[in-house]
């Protein structure tokens, strides 16, 4: 027991590998949130008036929400109040005029991404993944733009989309997550600085995986990116996002919004490997990951699939959801969330069935280790018009050690009697007897835990694009180091 505990502790206390800071000249506006700041962000982005007006509406609403004390605290997470005036809302590497090629990107930035294992260099086409990299508040490079343009796919920084494709942005921005949606989405709508924009034209199957890498570098800043993906009729896209941040003693806020729109017969597969800095082993520092992600299956036979592997962040508050409007549309949510040390995760999904014969699948795997607290919170709603709707939910929790917690809050709301619902839930603990059994077969405690955890997550990893599945598995092993009891 003691020796197991020690090994677990040493594994769990492994250093965060992405915790370095890039020494780069940055332009960061002073902390504080005001109408002037919102206008400044908009003007730095040279945005059209509709964007500014939208931001201002969001800002005014945010001020009102704050005055009414509407910051949500229903999540099962505890943290000190956030001082929204102490955050800087815009930070960017200095001198980023229009870049015509990657050669003009600051070498230090490229070095940062190399350290993170992301190649931005187009020569490395072999990987076959187009990458958009967002460094603090701005997008610094998007690869494969030309190759994608040939088939009519638009994949660019959000700020560029606002200028080059304002009609698409105006039509779809806020159509799934309105600026009034919730406290953090409202804040994001006012101050978001960049993110990724994707448009897949009718009938096009996007020829490669699209990927965005988010990196928070500057101290005392927040990151508020916004992603908008539109899959037009009969199109398909697979999109992956990854996130890392330096180790810092103070908490940093990340409040992103992701909106997905799938039209008739379109499919969007959205995968996340979230590895924001989780704080140290005593729970000091780390990212507050308060994110709103929602997809609308607007067309008939459309499909949206969320897959997430969440290992980072001090606190995760995130519910990637699907609104199943189109008849026969499909929503899926596959999640692995790991909390170790003092991490807290409150995550899950909402499946709102509106159309006929809509189907949804939820598979959630929560792993709690150390003093981690892991909560699944999900809602399945069958509206009166959703005749023939089906849902299958499975929530499994795995406890590693005896200091952690797992919690499940499923909410099922059925208003059409033809619906078929299934809900399964299990809670298991990696027992000392399991570890001893594996050790008696020659495996070390770490190997045993990692084998059991990987087995537990296998169904989810299978949903990830291959290279990311390997990455996710490694990440999980790393995040678990020092966690068995």
């Amino acid at each position: 027991m003691t020796s197991d505990r020690q090994t677990i502790d040493s594994i769990t206390s492994q250093e965060y590998k992405y915790g370095f800071v890039t020494d780069i000249e940055q332009e960061t506006i002073p902390p504080g949130l005001s109408e002037a700041v919102v206008r400044l962000i908009s003007s730095k982005k040279e945005e059209p008036d509709f964007m500014l007006q939208w931001r201002l509406k969001a800002y005014r609403r945010f001020v009102q929400l704050q005055a009414d004390n509407k910051e949500p605290h229903w999540a099962k997470a505890e943290y000190e109040p956030i001082d929204y005036q102490a955050i800087s809302y815009y930070s960017a590497p200095k001198d980023t005029p229009e870049l015509s090629s990657l050669d003009e990107v600051d070498p230090k930035l490229l070095e940062t991404y190399t350290k993170l294992g992301i190649s931005l260099l187009e020569q490395k086409r072999l990987t076959g993944v187009a990458v958009d990299a967002v460094f603090d508040s701005v997008s610094v490079a998007t690869t494969f733009k030309d190759a994608l343009a040939e088939v009519g796919v638009i994949f660019c920084p959000f700020s560029e989309a606002v200028q080059k494709h304002p009609e698409l942005v105006e039509k779809y921005l806020g159509s799934v997550v309105p600026y009034t949606d919730n406290f953090f989405a409202t804040l994001n709508s006012a101050v978001f600085s960049d993110g990724s924009f994707v448009y897949i034209p009718k009938g096009v199957r996007c020829p490669m995986e699209l990927s965005t890498y988010f990196r928070m570098n500057a101290a005392k800043t927040g990151q508020f990116e916004r992603t908008l993906i539109i899959a037009d009729q009969g199109s398909y896209v697979s999109y992956l996002e990854g996130c890392t941040a330096p180790m810092r003693d103070e908490n940093q806020l990340h409040a992103a919004v992701v909106e997905l729109i799938a039209l008739d017969d379109a499919e969007i597969k959205y995968s996340t490997v979230q590895n924001w800095y989780p704080g140290d082993k005593n729970g000091v520092g780390g990212i507050y990951n308060f994110v709103t992600k929602r997809g609308a299956c607007r067309g008939v036979n459309s499909k949206i699939s969320w897959t997430q592997v969440e290992t980072g962040s001090a606190i995760t508050w995130k519910y990637p959801s699907c609104i199943l409007q189109g008849d026969n549309s499909i929503g899926e949510f596959y999640s692995v969330a790991l909390t170790n040390n003092y991490q807290q995760a409150d995550t899950g999904t909402k499946m709102i069935h509106l159309g006929k014969n809509t189907r949804s699948t939820i598979i959630s795997k929560g792993i709690s280790a150390g003093h981690g607290q892991n909560t699944y919170r999900g809602q399945v709603k069958i509206m009166p018009g959703a005749t023939g709707a089906r849902n299958y939910s499975q929530c499994d929790s795995l406890l590693v050690g005896d200091q952690c917690g797992a919690h499940t809050f499923p909410d099922i709301d059925v208003r059409n009697s033809s619906a078929r619902m299934e809900h399964e839930a299990t809670t298991t603990r990696i027992g000392e007897d399991q570890i001893f059994y594996c050790r008696q077969r020659g495996l070390s405690t770490e190997e045993a835990v990692s084998m059991i955890v990987n087995g537990f997550c296998r169904d989810i990893f299978r949903k990830l694009p291959m290279e990311f599945a390997v990455e996710a598995q490694k990440l999980l092993e790393l995040s678990l180091e020092g966690s068995v009891g």
């Binding site: 027991m1 003691t2 020796s3 298991t428 027992g431 000392e432 007897d433 399991q434 001893f436 059994y437 594996c438 050790r439 008696q440 077969r441 020659g442 495996l443 070390s444 405690t445 190997e447 084998m451 059991i452 990987n454 087995g455 537990f456 997550c457 296998r458």
Partner: protein, 278 residues
């Protein structure tokens, strides 16, 4: 590694003076209560010893202590495994060096396929022996061969470890692992309990075919049943934490007829040392 250990490594099984397993005056407690009260036992290479006794006599405790379960405290005595201090080794190192325990209650590991555990275990053992990991083709060939020995279906490999297995399937699975890992000392803890007659024969045959002049067995059993198919060299009776009687195969039959009652509360049998001498 000191010179003595090096010598040990080179002279394993050739040196008749080094016993496979030597337990000397072993005292073991759990939560302050003494379970084993001075066990003495010596197992030579190639020997099969049966350890019999009533419930609660300490049979399984001994098996668990030998495998390295740390909920038990060794309060006195020593255990040598091929001349090395066994108690100083972690459970996984004991396993890699060839000590295998067939569990009385094999553990369920959901989500982990049988074949995956087998492969990880075999590679850990091979690494210890300085051998390379088997590639997938060779590994599968080996596993298929061993599956036949225990008459198990290949579908077993792709089921989670022990999940949904019947009692007999679990025990056969333990024997399958033993056949693949090729230990030098196999401790079988009540491997015969819960087996129907067909499964018992399969398990017994697996053990018999696996016996070599180098490989030793410690077979722990409550009944004499298994010993009808597997011939022991020595039979020991354990009662209240002590070995109270040692004899040849005929002792098992005697116990079957007379029960344990006549031996209980007895003193350690003075014939043990003589009986197990070289």
């Amino acid at each position: 590694m000191n010179i003595r250990e090096l010598n040990n490594n080179h002279s394993l099984n050739q040196d008749k003076n080094i016993r496979m397993l030597e337990i000397k005056d072993l005292h073991v407690s759990v939560e302050g209560q003494e379970i084993l009260k001075g066990i003495n036992l010596s197992v030579g290479a190639g020997e099969l010893h049966a350890l019999m006794g009533p419930n609660g006599s300490g049979k399984s405790t001994l098996a668990q202590v030998l495998a390295g379960r740390d909920i038990y405290q060794v309060t006195a005595g020593e255990v040598l495994f091929e001349g090395r201090d066994l108690l100083a080794l972690t459970p996984e190192v004991r396993a890699r060096k060839g000590l295998f325990l067939s569990f009385q209650y094999p553990v369920v590991i959901s989500g982990v396929n049988n074949i995956y555990l087998l492969q990880a275990a075999l590679n850990a053992r091979r690494k210890e022996r300085g051998e390379e990991a088997l590639d997938a083709v060779d590994f599968l060939a080996l596993v298929r061969n061993r599956l036949q020995a225990v008459q198990m279906d290949e579908s077993f490999l792709y089921r989670p470890v022990n999940e949904g297995f019947s009692g007999g399937e679990k025990k056969r699975n333990e024997i399958l692992q033993m056949l693949i890992l090729e230990p030098i000392l196999a401790i079988l803890d009540e491997t015969d309990s819960g087996l129907d007659i067909d499964a018992l024969k399969i398990v017994a045959e697996g053990i018999n075919n696996f016996r070599t002049p180098q490989r030793s067995f410690l077979v722990i059993t409550h009944y004499q049943r298994l010993l009808g198919y597997v011939e022991p060299d020595w039979v020991h009776v354990i009662s209240e934490g002590r070995i109270v009687k040692t004899g040849g195969p005929e002792l098992a039959h005697e116990l079957e007829e007379r029960g344990y009652g006549w031996l209980q509360g007895g003193q350690p049998d003075v014939t043990i040392k003589a009986a197990i001498g070289p």
